[in-house]
Structure formats: structure tokens, C-alpha cells
């Protein structure tokens, strides 16, 4: 009622839009507690059986471990690669910067099925690599570098370049300048990039499905379970856990971002 008076018809529409945005996804936790393998209204009874079943599934636990390993490695490697690339393009006048950036951003626009098959051709046919979690991680690094670069470029452009120049004038060498000035100031960006790359890799299915060997990652495991109706409640429970995990990650990222903004405004008013 209050919302309606304050915002008018658009406010009502906005609320309806939020329901549309969240509704389907919130069905997963709702039915993960439902005491029935059929997903149907009315709800039967409350149960934790699907969560228990999930925790006892060794295949699932292995897939979760594999996904965590890959995602952590990918987040660290992509963020380092993204940070140095962002530093290069924001701080140096490089000839051919436009085409260079265009090339590095290609993974954002090329369909991931094309990237996956191209990588498969190179790694498998040309280089003769054995497919494993390592090849999955390599593919994910390629996907995540542009994401990390976008985050880091906006962060590096956001703070005063004079700070770095002042550090250099005061006699710090480039390495010291990086560690004492650039790195602390871009720390919130680095955290945001780590979280973004982690969740992108953790969630990625197509490249993982084509480049994985014997060990599967979590999305590939979930995909394989979708074929069996009796496994559906277990997947619902798993999906709910992932949902809660990613919401916690977003909250953490947002907090870090805000925390990082305060000292910066104090340093460069």
C-alpha cells in the first residue's frame, strides 16, 4: 500500500518483477524440504532426508572437492593475470591497445561451446594432453581473465594515479610502488575479482563438460543427475546449498567493496 502510493504503478511492476526474478529459484529450497520425490503442490511434510542423502553421496562430495580445487586455482591465477593486464593497459600508452583489449575480451562474446571445442582440438589433437581437472582449469582461466580485467581496470582507473607517481618521486622503485601503493589500493578490487572468478568457475558447465577427464566438477555432476527423476530431490537439496553459498559470497563481496571504499575516500578527497 505504502509502496504503491510512493512509487505509483511502476512500483507495483517492480515488485512483480522481483517475484518473477526470484520465484523460480526459490522453488529449489522450498521443495528440497518436501517429503516426496514428486515436485508438486500441495507440499507433503517437512524432511531433511534429501540433505542427508546428499551428504552421504560420495560421488557428489568428490565432485564438490574437485570444483572447489579448480575454482580456487582459477580465481587466483585469473586475478593475477587480470591485475597485471589491467595495470598495463591503464598505466602505459601502448600502441595497438584497442585490438589487444578486443582480443582479450573475446571470451565474453564467443559462445562457450565454440571455445570449449576449440580448446579440445588444441589440447587433445594438437598437443596430445590427457584431459583432467587441469585442462578444465586452463579453460576456466581463459573465461575468467576478461572478467578479472574488467573489475581491475575499473578499480585502477578509480584511484588517483598521482599516488603512484608520488611514491616513485619519493624514491620507491616500481616493485615497491606496486606493493606499498597499488596493491593496497586495489585490494577491494582484487577481492571482488577473486570472488567473481571463483563463482564463474564454480558454476561453469560447458567447458568443464568437454575438457574433464575421469574426475567431474559439480555442475557436470548435477547435469548427469538431471536425467533420473528419482535423483531430483537430491539435486534440489544440493542446489539450495549452492544458492545459500553464493548469496553468502555476494554479501561478503559487497561488504569488502564498501569497506575498501572508505580508506580510499580518506586518502584521496
Amino acid at each position: 500500500m505504502i509502496g504503491e502510493r510512493r512509487f505509483g504503478g511502476l512500483g507495483v511492476y517492480a515488485l512483480a518483477y522481483l517475484v518473477f526474478l526470484y520465484g523460480p529459484v526459490l522453488l529449489l529450497p522450498l521443495f528440497s524440504f518436501n517429503d516426496s520425490i514428486y515436485i508438486t503442490f500441495p507440499l507433503k511434510g517437512f524432511t531433511l532426508a534429501w540433505y542427508r542423502q546428499m551428504a552421504e553421496n560420495t560421488q557428489l562430495v568428490l565432485a564438490l572437492q574437485a570444483s572447489l580445487k579448480v575454482a580456487v586455482a582459477v580465481a587466483v591465477v585469473s586475478t593475477v593475470l587480470g591485475l597485471i593486464a589491467a595495470k598495463a593497459v591503464t598505466r602505459y600508452r601502448m600502441p595497438g591497445k584497442g585490438p589487444l583489449l578486443g582480443f582479450l575480451m573475446l571470451p565474453l562474446v564467443v559462445p562457450s561451446i565454440v571455445l570449449a571445442l576449440g580448446l579440445l582440438v588444441v589440447l587433445r589433437l594438437a598437443l596430445g594432453f590427457e584431459l583432467s581437472l587441469l585442462t578444465v582449469a586452463a579453460g576456466h582461466v581463459m573465461l575468467c581473465v576478461p572478467l578479472a580485467m574488467l573489475v581491475m581496470i575499473s578499480r585502477l582507473e578509480g584511484f588517483d594515479r598521482n599516488l603512484e607517481e608520488a611514491a616513485a618521486d619519493l624514491g620507491l622503485n616500481p616493485w615497491q610502488t606496486f606493493w606499498r601503493v597499488t596493491f593496497p589500493l586495489s585490494w577491494p578490487g582484487i577481492m571482488a575479482s577473486l570472488l567473481l572468478c571463483f563463482s564463474a568457475s564454480f558454476d561453469e558447465y560447458v567447458i568443464a563438460a568437454f575438457l574433464t577427464g575421469n574426475e567431474t566438477t559439480l555442475p557436470v555432476f548435477i547435469f548427469s543427475q538431471l536425467r533420473f527423476p528419482q535423483k531430483l530431490p537430491g539435486v534440489l537439496a544440493l542446489g539450495s546449498c549452492i544458492l545459500i553459498g553464493s548469496i553468502l559470497l555476494v554479501t561478503l563481496a559487497e561488504r569488502l567493496r564498501r569497506k575498501g571504499l572508505q580508506p580510499q575516500t580518506a586518502v584521496a578527497p
Binding site: 512509487f7 512500483g11 515436485i39 503442490f41 571445442l117 581473465v145 563463482s199
Partner: protein
Amino acid sequence: MTTLQPLREDRAGPSPRTAASESLGRRLRLAWFRHDGLRGYALISPTLLAMLLLLGAPLVSLVVLSFWTQTYFEFDTTPTLRNYAKLVDWQDTPVYLRTLWRSLLMAGAATTAVVLLAYPIAYFLAFRVKQHKMVWLVLITVPFWTSYLLRIFAWKVILGFNGLINSSLIGLGLIEEPLEFLLYNQAAVTITLAHAWAAYAILPIYVSLEKIDRSLLEAATDLGKGPVEGFLKVTLPLSLPGTIAAALLVFIPTVGDYVTPTLVGGSSGLMVGNVIQSLFGKANDAPLGAALSILTMGVVTLLVCALLWAVRPNRSGAELQVRR
């Protein structure tokens, strides 16, 4: 001539001496400090090297592969355009062009739905919400962070053969048999894509609306324009760049989407990504699959360029109009 002379002498003077005594290392170091770009490229080289190996090589190898021919388990490496001829042959093998066309239509429909649904929300955020703007922005970006696979999976749960709609309707005694038209068709793919990408379109539109100088709107009111005319003549043209960006952000990835049609598309809702995959897999014709990949990317690039070209004069015209 006179101004150049001393400069040239200056440079030429010490050069014979230094050229002899200067080591290669010193000259390199000089170049290093003199050329900003060189240091930039040195810094970016690990990233560039990794991306050349993981992105450049795969794309180049697909291009090369698309000119080869599959002979059972080997490749005939004589360059040929036969794969491309096969793809565009409307008479004998219409399936490729037809699938590509269908993918473009489905992605176009999903994009249109996403942008039309997102625009009012972006407008609401930019012009109506005064307090708690951050809360709204976070609420809208959270789904952007949650698993893409799960969002699609949710729709499979809703629309499926034993899904929420069907089983609930049967439970209520309204229908006897599950409704089969809900899942595994083009409409299901389009709805699912529109929902999965909904959050991506709001931010670019919001940013372009937020940037609009509010005094322009006041000027329009002062000149006797009503709210509708003000919107059509000022707000809409000025937010067009962000809206186009949003549309591209959704359209480009959805054309080549593979997960959504695989999960909810069935056989009639297959998109070009699925055909490419089957060419590399079961159909055992990787060169043809590579050619289809290249063709798809080429067509999408052409469409995007055509769109950008088509709206460009409009955009500058609108800006001129407003400035006057």
C-alpha cells in the same frame, strides 16, 4: 631548416662515440625507459601469452580445421571450401541454415522480452527510487551471481513432464495426462533464456538513464511538452546507447547458448550450439562443426555491426536535437 639543424647536430654529435661504447644492454635499457609501450607489453606479456595459447590457438585451429575434410578417423588437410558450401546449401542440407535462423529468432525473442521487461525497472530505479537505492540494486544483481545452471534447472522443475505445473494440475484433478507442450520446445527455451538473462539488461540501461541531465527534462516541461512527449523526445533517445548495449549483452551469448536448449529444448528447440556439438561428437564431422562455429560467429558479428550502424545516425540526431 634552421630549426632542425641544431637538433640534428645535437643528436649526430655524440652518436659515433656512444654507438661504439654503448653496449647492447644499455641501448635496450634506454629504449625501455623511452618507450612506454614496451614496458606495458612486458607487463601484460604473461596474460597475453596465456590467452594466445588458450584463446588464440583454439580459434585459429577452428578456422584451419574448417577448411579441412573429415575422412573417418583422419583429416584430409587439402584446403577446401566444401564445408562452407555444405552449410549454405539450402537445397540438400537445409538443417544448418534452418537451425542458425531458428537460434537467431529465439535469441532475438528472448532479448526483446528481456529488454522490454528490464526498461521499466531501470527507469523506476533511476527516476523514482530516492531512498534505499543500494538495496534495490543489490536485490537486482544477486540473481546475476547465482548459478546459471540452477536458474535453468528451476524452469525444468516448473515446466517439466513431471514438473510443478503438470503435477499440480493433475493433483487438482484438472487434467488427466501431463501437458506435453510445456517443456521441450522453442517457447520453453525462450522463456528460460529470458528469465536467466533478465538481470543482465537492467544495469546498462540504468546507468544510461542515471546519466541523463535532469535539467533537460525540466527544459522539456518548460517548453510545454507533456510527460509522454518528454519521455519520447528526451529520455528514450538518450538512454538508447545503454539499451542497445543491454540488448547486445543478452543477444550475443544467447545465440550460441548450449545449456538451455539441452535442458529444456527437446528436439524441436535445439539451437546451433547443439548442432555444433553433435557434429564434433556423434556425427563425427569436426571440420563441418568448425565451419558452422565460424559461420555462426560471422553472422552474429555482421548482425551486431548492422545494428550499431543502423542506430548510429539516430543517436547523434537525438543528441543534436536535445542540444538545440
